[in-house]
């Protein structure tokens, strides 16, 4: 994994520098392109002929990677809203950075914004530790307070003679098309730094994220790691300003990581997935905003990320809602079938397996069901080819349908009864349960026990033949061929 991500990172860096070096510096603004056909636009976008498209795409890809990597850590640390706080808190820094040079110099803005962002996290920490104010209120306070200072500064800048043309409002919702080569270099450097630090300190990040007390106990500087992460977060927020905007950059941190969190349990895979999702949303976002001339990029990136999240939420293999629901239904269905088969086995057991057939009435009585319900259950079994039905022709007045177990039905029934009775025996013998207390427990576990466990139980109980209630336990031989020796 580490090798792979190192490869990815170096590849991305390579492509970046190649494109930057070969691209013309004077980029035509995307909004100046007036193609109207969708396909033409599509081809034009993906041929990367326009340098501005190239910048936008590269910037979005790298930004997605960076946000995915860092976002994974804040999502597992339950700090997702710290990203939101941080992104609003950088606003006064952006304004001050602008005032410093009186131009939109990316480096001045970068420094100002990073300082403001870090100051924001420190103030949240102070409020939280020195007063009884809860962390969420502290975050809301800092978020809105800093943001308001930024707004005031912005409105003051706007009335300066140079301020009107500053285009600082592009920082609100982002315009990937306005990315310059300076911006791109900054994004690349921050992404590379984040990737490098995470690789270098992967173990430390991992331990402090999941168990910071343990981390402190084994001598890792948990606080240092926390603030390092905050610093990297501030960096990633700042590089995202130009492309995604202040208001929505926190979503680039949270959403791809939350999507990855739905798909895997392993941190290194989560990092990989999150950066992939981040890249996808970045690409899609810049593409959509390209289609609709000069629409803001940020919202489209977020919508793309949210669509991926929704897909993972619904269809994700392990934690998706639909697969889980299906698995649940499947399990209920199987348990019901197994219980039905068990009931048929019990009825046959009463006649010491002399009667091959079981009537639906008998079955209904055994399971305490009205005839209609019983017929439904049997139909399910027929569908699974566990039983066959035939009309009894013994008595035309009392005509009833007879149920015959097929070999596979017989085998499953034996397996379930065997599981049930072995478990009952195990509880009475090894756990000193009373024999009348074991049934409910066995009723649950019989559907779950695997063959290996059952063999082990059998071995431990020294190959028993009768359960605590004196009933025969179906043996391994019954499971092998089709019929019980009777």
């Amino acid at each position: 994994m580490i090798k792979r991500s190192r490869l990815c990172a170096s590849l991305a860096l390579g492509i970046t520098s190649f494109l930057v070096l070969t691209g013309e510096i004077h980029a035509a603004k995307i909004s100046e392109i007036s193609d109207s056909h969708l396909i033409e636009q599509f081809v034009r976008f993906f041929s990367f002929k326009d340098p501005s498209v190239r910048y936008a795409v590269l910037g979005s890809l790298l930004l997605g990677t960076c946000c995915g990597l860092l976002g994974s850590f804040i999502v597992v640390r339950k700090l997702a809203l710290m990203g939101d706080t941080l992104s609003h808190a950088v606003l006064p820094g952006v304004a001050l950075g602008f005032l410093w040079t009186m131009t939109k110099d990316p480096w001045a803005i970068f420094i100002g914004a990073t300082i403001a962002g870090l100051l924001g996290t420190v103030v949240v920490h102070w409020i939280h530790t020195t007063t009884h104010i809860k962390e969420d209120s502290a975050m809301g306070l800092v978020l809105s307070g800093f943001y308001a200072i930024g707004i005031c500064l912005f409105t003051m800048i706007q009335r300066l003679p140079t301020g009107n043309k500053a285009g600082l409002d592009k920082f609100m919702f982002g315009q990937a098309a306005a990315l310059g080569s300076d911006d791109l270099w900054m994004i690349a450097i921050v992404t590379a730094a984040a990737g490098f630090l995470i690789l270098l300190l992967y173990k430390e990040f991992l331990v402090t994220s999941f168990d910071s007390q343990f981390a402190s106990a084994i001598g890792l500087p948990a606080n240092f790691i926390h603030y390092l992460l905050m610093l990297l977060l501030a960096f990633s927020v700042v590089i995202g300003l130009q492309a995604v905007g202040i208001v929505l950059i926190s979503a680039m941190l949270i959403t791809p990581a939350a999507t990855a969190f739905l798909l895997t349990d392993r941190m290194h895979r989560m990092l990989l997935y999150a950066s992939l999702f981040g890249m996808c949303s970045g690409l899609l976002g810049s593409f959509f905003s390209y289609l609709g001339n000069s629409l803001p990029t940020g919202p489209f990136m977020i919508i793309s990320a949210s669509m991926l999240f929704t897909l993972a939420l619904l269809f994700g293999n392990r934690y998706g809602i639909i697969p889980r629901k299906l698995r649940h239904l499947n399990r209920t269905h199987r348990i019901q079938i197994e219980n039905t088969l068990k009931a048929i086995y019990r009825i046959r057991e009463k006649s010491h397996f002399k009667e091959e057939a079981v009537s639906i009435q008998q079955f209904g009585e055994q399971r305490n069901l009205p005839i209609i319900e019983a017929e439904k259950e049997v139909k399910r079994l027929i569908k699974e080819r566990y039983v066959t039905l035939s009309k009894s022709n013994l008595d035309e007045f009392n005509q009833s349908q007879l149920i015959y177990l097929t070999p596979s039905g017989w085998k499953t029934a034996c397996r379930i009864v065997r599981n049930h009775r072995l478990w009952e025996l195990y509880l009475t013998e090894s756990a000193q349960y009373e024999p009348d207390h074991v049934h409910d427990d066995a009723e649950e576990i019989e559907h779950i026990l695997g063959e290996a466990t059952v063999r082990e139980l059998e071995r431990r109980l020294d190959f028993p033949t009768v359960d605590p209630h004196g009933k025969l336990i179906p043996s391994i031989i019954d499971l092998g061929d089709g019929h019980k020796a009777n």
């Binding site: 999502v75 339950k78 997702a80 809203l81 990203g83 939101d84 609003h88 005032l99 409020i127 020195t130 007063t131 009884h132 104010i133 809860k134 969420d136 209120s137 975050m139 809301g140 306070l141 978020l143 809105s144 307070g145 943001y147 308001a148 200072i149 707004i151 005031c152 500064l153 912005f154 409105t155 003051m156 800048i157 009335r159 003679p161 409002d169 609100m172 919702f173 208001v247 929505l248 926190s250 979503a251 949270i254 959403t255 990581a257 939350a258 969190f261 739905l262 609709g292 629409l295 803001p296 940020g298 919202p299 489209f300 977020i302 919508i303 949210s306 999240f309 939420l313 934690y319 809602i321």
Partner: protein, 321 residues
């Protein structure tokens, strides 16, 4: 032109009332007080329930609700706007709960994903259908408390009262009435939901009711202070008062006082610096918070430092009996 004009205490105090015409100033102050009071009262219960950031989420996600309603109806009627906002608020709360409960995603991430998505949808709708939606993004970001007045006004006992102020006053009355009516229920459910359940108070109804009231307050404050600054109006009065008192009724009263202070202080600040009045109100609130945080007689930082110094002094010179 300088960025920060020279500070002159006398003109700082008088400028809003002399130079720009006191009429618009007084309406800004009144509107500010109404908005801040309504938000502050509801915000107290949010802060108590540790739901401060749910306020943040709802204030963002009302945007698509309002945008869709404006787009479909092609009008700007208040009733429709409120309906859209209430629907959007409920959808947000429901979505957050759904993601949080049905999957392994934690609550904070669920919140973050939900409101950013809805906000993004709103921004896209507004920028794509800019001609049909009478709502601009500037207003969402900065608030327009400074110049929405006198567009249309209503003569009331000889005074021309701007329509938005009337609306906000109505909303404030409604909110205050609802909070007074259900005060006991809100109190119990905020502090001890187990007790509330055993007393037969429907906890989830209280929750959704509060969220409806919150959406209502936010939608009326939206135009004046914008989607992001409204969070400050919700949280700041409550948090600042909580540093000064521990009884909820006192905190509620104090937050009304702070609401008025923000509004007046904000106007003076805005006139001095010539910046966005809504932003200045929040800056004023933030400064007041910092001040209270520093000097609060119960939990102030200065008190904390003094205590610390005293404790250190005692450690260094242990007095023997």
């Amino acid at each position: 032109m300088e960025l920060i004009p020279t500070f002159d205490f006398k003109s700082f105090l008088t400028a809003p009332w002399i130079d720009g015409g006191w009429e618009s100033s007084i309406w800004i102050v009144i509107m500010g007080i109404l908005v801040n009071t309504a938000c502050g009262l509801v915000g107290n219960f949010l802060v108590l329930r540790k739901m401060a950031l749910v306020g943040d989420a709802i204030s963002h996600s009302l945007l698509p609700g309002i945008a869709i309603v404006f787009l479909l109806s092609n009008s700007r009627s208040t009733g429709l706007m409120v309906a859209g906002a209430l629907a959007a608020g409920l959808v947000t709360v429901w979505l957050i709960e759904f993601i949080h409960k049905k999957t392994r995603v934690k609550e904070d991430a669920a919140l973050g994903v939900t409101f950013t998505t809805l906000f993004a949808i709103g921004v896209i709708l507004i920028s794509v259908f800019a001609d049909h939606v009478d709502l601009d993004l500037e207003c969402v970001l900065y608030g327009e408390i400074g110049f929405i007045y006198f567009d249309d006004s209503l003569p009331l006992i000889g005074i021309e009262v701007p329509w938005p102020v009337l609306q906000m006053a109505g909303a404030l009355l409604l909110v205050t009435a609802l909070l007074l009516l259900f005060y006991k229920e809100l109190l119990v459910t905020s502090f001890d939901s187990g007790l509330a359940t055993s007393l037969g108070i429907p906890v989830s109804w209280a929750h959704y009711g509060l969220m409806m009231v919150l959406s209502l307050v936010i939608v009326f404050s939206f135009e004046s202070v914008g989607a992001i600054l409204v969070i400050a109006m919700l949280i700041m009065p409550s948090v600042t008062s909580a540093l000064l008192s521990e009884r909820l009724p006192n905190i509620l009263r104090l937050s009304v006082v702070f609401a008025a202070l923000y509004s007046i202080g904000g106007l003076h600040l805005a006139t001095w610096l010539d910046c966005s009045p809504a932003g200045a109100m929040v800056v004023c609130g933030f400064l007041l918070f910092c001040l209270v945080w520093l000097v609060s007689p119960r939990r102030g930082l200065i008190l904390l430092w003094v205590k610390k110094l005293k404790a250190r002094g005692q450690l260094e010179s242990p007095s023997l009996p």
